[in-house]
Symmetry: C2
Amino acid sequence: MKNLRIALAQINTTVGDLDGNAAKVLDFARRARAAGAHLVAFPEMALTGYPPEDLLLKEHFVANNIKALRRIARAVKGIAAVVGFVDRGQDGSLYNAAAIISDGKVQSVCRKAALPNYSVFDEKRYFTSGGPGAVFSCAGVRVGVTICEDIWVDGGPYLAQASNGAGLLINISSSPYETGKRVERFKLLRKRCRQTGTHIAYVNLVGGQDELVFDGASMVVAPSGKLVAAASQFSEQLLVCDIPGEGVKAPPLGEIEEIYGALVLGTRDYVRKNGFRRVVIGLSGGIDSALVAAIACDAVGCANVVGISMPTRFNAKATQADARTLAERLGIEFHEIPVEHVFQSYLETLAPCFQGQPFGLAEENLQARVRGNVLMAFSNKFGWLVLTTGNKSEMATGYCTLYGDMSGGYAVIKDILKTRVYELCAYVNRKAGSELIPASIFTRAPSAELRANQKDQDSLPPYPVLDELLVEYVEHHGAFQGMARRHGEALVRKVVALVDKSEYKRRQAPPGVKISRRAFGKDWRLPLTNHYKTC
Amino acid sequence: MKNLRIALAQINTTVGDLDGNAAKVLDFARRARAAGAHLVAFPEMALTGYPPEDLLLKEHFVANNIKALRRIARAVKGIAAVVGFVDRGQDGSLYNAAAIISDGKVQSVCRKAALPNYSVFDEKRYFTSGGPGAVFSCAGVRVGVTICEDIWVDGGPYLAQASNGAGLLINISSSPYETGKRVERFKLLRKRCRQTGTHIAYVNLVGGQDELVFDGASMVVAPSGKLVAAASQFSEQLLVCDIPGEGVKAPPLGEIEEIYGALVLGTRDYVRKNGFRRVVIGLSGGIDSALVAAIACDAVGCANVVGISMPTRFNAKATQADARTLAERLGIEFHEIPVEHVFQSYLETLAPCFQGQPFGLAEENLQARVRGNVLMAFSNKFGWLVLTTGNKSEMATGYCTLYGDMSGGYAVIKDILKTRVYELCAYVNRKAGSELIPASIFTRAPSAELRANQKDQDSLPPYPVLDELLVEYVEHHGAFQGMARRHGEALVRKVVALVDKSEYKRRQAPPGVKISRRAFGKDWRLPLTNHYKTC
């Protein structure tokens, strides 16, 4: 096989930004050419961003994406390019496609054959399945192109491409992050390399899009199954590699580091791509808001993070002090706005109707809702985005207040179980080399502080037990008997009931970064009206 | 052809209620037998309810639905039955299926071939496409069975069934309501009858499930295309018909009557199936909350509706009086809870941080949010469901407050354009034969009353103009040029920008009854982060 230099353009596109994405493609094509590459490949649907969802139902959107592709084809010079876009057949059918561009023209188009329609994917809502993909020649080397899912299915188009003499298979992907996904992708590619006897170059999207984070981690794997080049996760990169040969290899991240990176990028891109500059967070002095504040600092810079503490009669001096200390150590703007007076005015206003009723959930929720309103008032007044601080254990069990602590534009840690919140906070301090998050925040028993002497553990099982069960029920749709065997019938009944009856809260929750196998977002479509009893 | 008596069991199932749905199937099978029917047919997925969404990913859910089917097969006596359920293949694949039951056994199973994966449907997420369907004999007549979409596609399995001697085609459906859908279904069935030369018996689900309302309107159409039996919309019915012969024919509803029926049933079933008895509504004295209150009375009974008026400094005496009059005429419980004091306490609390800032959106939204909190406090205290009162024109343009007037469990009129709100209110009075909704509510210019002398028309185009444009942009994904030709460039730019930038509000909105071609719900999946510019 001749020597071919390829460049994988791991770019951060924005959904719907046809002009911006096209400009980025041209910029990276120029850089690839300057690096001496014969061929540059871009992620799946690089032109439209991924996933454009129902924008695809707008005819003008698809027409404009094709126009943008033609402009790119004319402008790319001195290098071949594989560019993801949306193709339209003569009958109007849409295809998730890759254009093979060279010499000022679209030379051929490859249409995705395997359309994922599970988990967060809805590709059969929009696309028709394509053919066996394209094989083209570049600098004397036969190159086959597949799109994302095509390489995952056994017996996919890569087999025919290899049989047809391809020495290099390029897979263009927009594969969202999940814990451990990078390793899973490498194992798959290694297997396909050995099956086909070819090099595989895998280019993946990077960036945040609503609840999804695309982590990049583009790579080149040799026919032996050896990793010969690897891009970093969570940042743009042009990965250049000679085939045969080797390129740079970014060192792999540890699990917690990787999750933290996903949270930072997802938050940064949601803020930035939605036109916000600053964010505001309710700082309770607890571990969840501490983590969100730390992530926000890494995402948008400490100067753009505002923390607000909003005590009522139930907030301990120690937690308020912790909130203040945290803000000082992070170096963020901080305000203390006591809301007891507002809370009291609600109680007085409601007193005629609530006469004789004991203090209860209504009064607890009111405090959370006053805080939500104050944060939203800051958002409305100054144009800041409210980041919510609820974790997955709370979202699962409904241990959160709708229109209260759930109020906000982005729910940074909604897919992070409470036990992992602690691990991530420990990582924040390790990374900083100092106690950025005060030790007392780690050691104090978690409390919503909405009534006297309240502790989370009064209402919920201990978090290590709860979280293990939640993984089983939420992420694996566990059946009663198996769960009961491991956790006991009573506990399972209690937790399953909490999860099931909180669906209406989750339905109205803001989006947040998906990091798990199954997050409360596009891959969790449970009916609200639902009489099914798992137990 | 011999004479066959069939019964179409237009039943109201509940998603996930395997035991309850099975009991209802048995009850209607007994009633059909008592009516002398040879055959009774139930809607698509009658056992599981429709759509069960991700419940289908739980193995135990599917296993339990199959167990329920076996129990039914053993219990149904002296009549053949076609029962919708979820079938599982040996490889674990799922099928949307119909069991043909007689003599205590499942005699055969028909699996749906055409799986809708557009609009509100996600059937390819769960199901594998089935075969050509089943033809069986009943009382000497050959009967073919298809499932919902199967009859809609040209060249569907009904052709082969007719060629194989079927004299009667049964289609079991769970077809959600949309304005005009009943007529559309009849036209389709008439066409299929003429194509195949057979009778077609169409049995449809009835009932509300989250945002969908299934309207029933089951029918039998003769080979000539003549309608020979027709069930009512929006209520359970056992429609019995001799073939050949005629059955009862419910008179068709007018368009407004039909939409009102959908809103009432959708609301009633959401309330009832989610275990609520009473509902609470913020009554502003405006037309939207008047309509919602009237619908609520028809849905759950006046005794179970509570109206709350929550004036601040900006609410005119006249609108407050209208709220009170409306409540009196409807005969509902009514409370006036002035919230000026709470609003004032927020302003004082925020004053140190908002110094020098003019009164603006933050202060307007605060009033709406105080009201939302008060309604939620009643919900939390007494277990009432909050019904929100926003219409589709507001939901489209973002002329509503997140965590304010958008707070609640069910958004009854979220798919009703403002111009149609007036038509429906006029219908309410016509139906009552009196001015249930006071005339002054119709004639006063709409206002949110969140600042002095505010009118909707200060911020929005006149509603008749706005609504026409919204139909074009929202329901038909209109392109700029066509819309601009009809409405002018400036207006289109303004309205499109309002719609596009309000996506984050809609994402956190409660569900409400879908009545249009495209509602803000499962058939509206626009990204939040979205740089696409239609204009």
